[in-house]
């Protein structure tokens, strides 16, 4: 076959250092296709992805939007009544419902709390990882990977069991008697938050840690030679270099935590007592599949979609401002 086959890890390693280090790098030349303009090959390669995404992502989004403008309940699903065009009727109904606003507020506050706690825990532990020797690092890394790997459903049931008023160890350790965590609104949200942070901080920790490790040691040495203090190195050298990575993990966390479903559904048993722990996602699901209000559920889905789209646009603007090349 070919005479040159470089070992792939080396390739990855080299690129990581160069790229994450944020050093000026030569713009990659245009792909080989540039020499053959009008080539159909890329579209051939893209075809399977585009077909799958078109059918199972774009089309459902279109359907979601469409449904939110129609009256679509159990009667229409079974074919008993014709579907009628409602215009913005569903949205009007939604926006005049005080529960919707309450759920929206809860979703935003809950997601914000999750993002802040996850980032704080993840970054702090990533820094901690760089300060310890191999054995404690491996132990912490393995524990974090375990939490990361735990499926959301099992994680939720385990945390529920840990905080169980009758048989859970947490209430015993802290002497809380038979205090029920899922009964109160805030304590239930707090329990869900703990589970969410537990299973999502490892992603932040591992990513930020990989980023810190990828900073070339010459840069740090140069800073130290110039007489920069520890704190100064962190603030003026590492933080700017890590900014792209921090941005990615922040955006990812916002997106994940805004869409929390399983944890709320399992821990608060479908949204808590009288729906006190509903977030948009669970709310839409309950409207659609529990109350058969498919069009209302779709309208909530559209609202979520628009909010996340706004977040994405902010992200894209930030990327562009940094001069990222896609």
């Amino acid at each position: 076959m070919t005479p040159v086959t470089p070992k792939s890890p080396g390739v990855v390693e080299r690129r990581r250092v160069r790229v994450v280090g944020g050093l000026p790098r030569p713009r990659p030349s245009a792909g080989s296709g540039a020499r053959r303009p009008g080539n159909r090959t890329p579209w051939l390669y893209l075809a399977p992805a585009l077909v799958v995404l078109g059918g199972l992502l774009v089309y459902p989004i279109y359907q979601l939007g469409l449904m939110s403008f129609f009256q679509y309940t159990q009667a229409q699903v079974s074919g008993g009544e014709p579907t009628t065009f409602e215009g913005f009727g569903n949205y009007a109904e939604l926006f005049s419902d005080s529960q919707f606003w309450q759920v929206l507020l809860a979703t935003v506050l809950f997601a914000a709390a999750c993002v802040v706690s996850t980032l704080a825990a993840g970054c702090a532990l990533a820094v901690l990882l760089t300060r310890v020797r191999a054995v404690p690092r491996l132990v912490l890394m393995l524990a974090a990977l375990g939490a990361w790997a735990t499926p959301a459903v099992t994680g939720s049931t385990v945390w529920l069991f840990l905080f169980d008023p009758d048989f859970g160890p947490v209430n015993r350790i802290f002497g809380l008697g038979d205090y029920s965590w899922t009964y109160g609104r805030l304590s239930a949200f707090f329990l869900v938050l703990l589970e969410v942070v537990w299973c999502s901080f490892p992603f932040v920790m591992v990513t930020v840690y990989a980023g810190i490790r990828a900073v070339p040691s010459e840069v740090l040495e140069a800073a130290a030679l110039d007489g920069a203090s520890q704190w100064r190195i962190w603030r003026s050298v590492l933080t700017p270099m890590l900014r792209p990575i921090l941005m990615v993990v922040t955006i990812q966390s916002v997106i994940w935590d805004f869409k929390v479903f399983t944890q709320i559904y399992v821990i608060t048993n479908g949204g808590g007592i009288a729906g006190q722990n509903l977030v948009l996602n669970v709310y839409a699901y309950q409207q659609a599949f529990a109350s058969s209000q498919y069009s209302l559920g779709s309208a909530i889905g559209v609202v979520m979609l628009l909010i996340l789209l706004a977040v994405t646009l902010v992200y894209l603007r930030l990327l562009r401002r940094q001069g990222e090349e896609l």
Partner: protein
């Protein structure tokens, strides 16, 4: 990093190491408690004085889990769904990532932005239209209704992440291959594919997890034919809010978590280097 470490004085490092170990213990505690409870005899689980050990480990809970319903079948179903999703999305994403990194063509940047935006789409919001789509194609109650959406939803992230790995393969290599007379297809599968493989493994973690953990689709699309259920649904059989069978829940959770743990440990190193490269590139 030696330098950074060198700047920290000894006592600080000791304190850092002790706290790292303590935090590791706290983080691992839920998993420890899960496995422990799965092995505890019934009397000890339903005890108001829970102890962090057991002197009489028993397999009763596991027996109950595997005895009740068709747990083995659910396990196989979950495995089929997750593996199909991993293989299919890896292959499709590899082709697409090659297209967007190795070629320049019209709408390339637009497509990339679309892939980025697609990652943000709340999967859960699409459950409603997908439900009707699956119904219209007669796919409700089949494993296909779980596999297809998961392939679609794991693709954008996989493509985005693989891009970095494909880019890392030097272009000179491609030219050398063509000069040696390799065809485009041959270059793609015999040279590029093996080189990008570590990246594919790192990427597949995410598709594996999303498919293996899926709860929402299983709950919404597998409505009447329980023989097509997957593990997350089976787990909830034991969890009844009023009177949960904690032993059963913990045993089922253990069984469900172990394959993911194995998968993670296997790809752990590639994951770290993969994330370090991909998130930035």
């Amino acid at each position: 990093m030696n330098l950074v470490r060198g700047l920290v004085r000894r006592p600080w490092r000791l304190a850092a190491e002790v706290s790292a170990l303590l935090i590791a213990a706290v983080v691992a505690f839920p998993l420890y408690w899960m496995v422990l409870s799965a092995f505890k005899p019934a009397g000890e689980i339903e005890s108001t004085e829970p102890r962090p050990w057991t002197l009489a480990p028993s397999l009763d809970s596991f027996r109950r889990v595997f005895g009740q319903q068709e747990f083995g079948r659910y396990f196989v179903n979950s495995l089929v769904v997750a593996c199909t999703v991993v293989v299919a999305s890896a292959l499709i994403a590899f082709l697409a990532a090659t297209a967007v990194t190795r070629f320049r063509f019209r709408f390339r940047t637009t497509l990339l932005i679309m892939f980025l935006v697609a990652q943000m789409v709340p999967v859960e919001a699409l459950t409603i239209p997908l439900f009707f789509l699956m119904r219209d194609f007669g796919q409700l109650n089949t494993l296909g209704s779980l596999i297809l959406p998961h392939i679609a939803f794991s693709l954008p992230f996989a493509i985005w992440m693989l891009r970095g790995f494909v880019k890392a393969v030097p272009e000179a290599l491609e030219e050398a291959a063509y000069i040696d007379g390799a065809s485009r297809t041959r270059f793609l599968w015999q040279i590029l594919f093996p080189l990008v493989f570590p990246g594919l493994v790192a990427t597949s973690v995410f598709s594996f997890i999303s498919a293996w953990n899926d709860f929402l689709f299983a709950r919404s699309f597998i409505i009447s034919d329980t023989s097509q259920s997957t593990l997350p649904m089976a787990l909830l059989v034991f969890y009844k809010p009023d009177e949960p069978d904690w032993g059963g829940v913990m045993a089922a959770s253990t069984v469900m978590t172990i394959p993911v743990l194995i998968f993670f440990v296997l790809v752990q190193r590639r994951l770290v280097s993969g994330l370090g490269g991909a998130v930035k590139d």
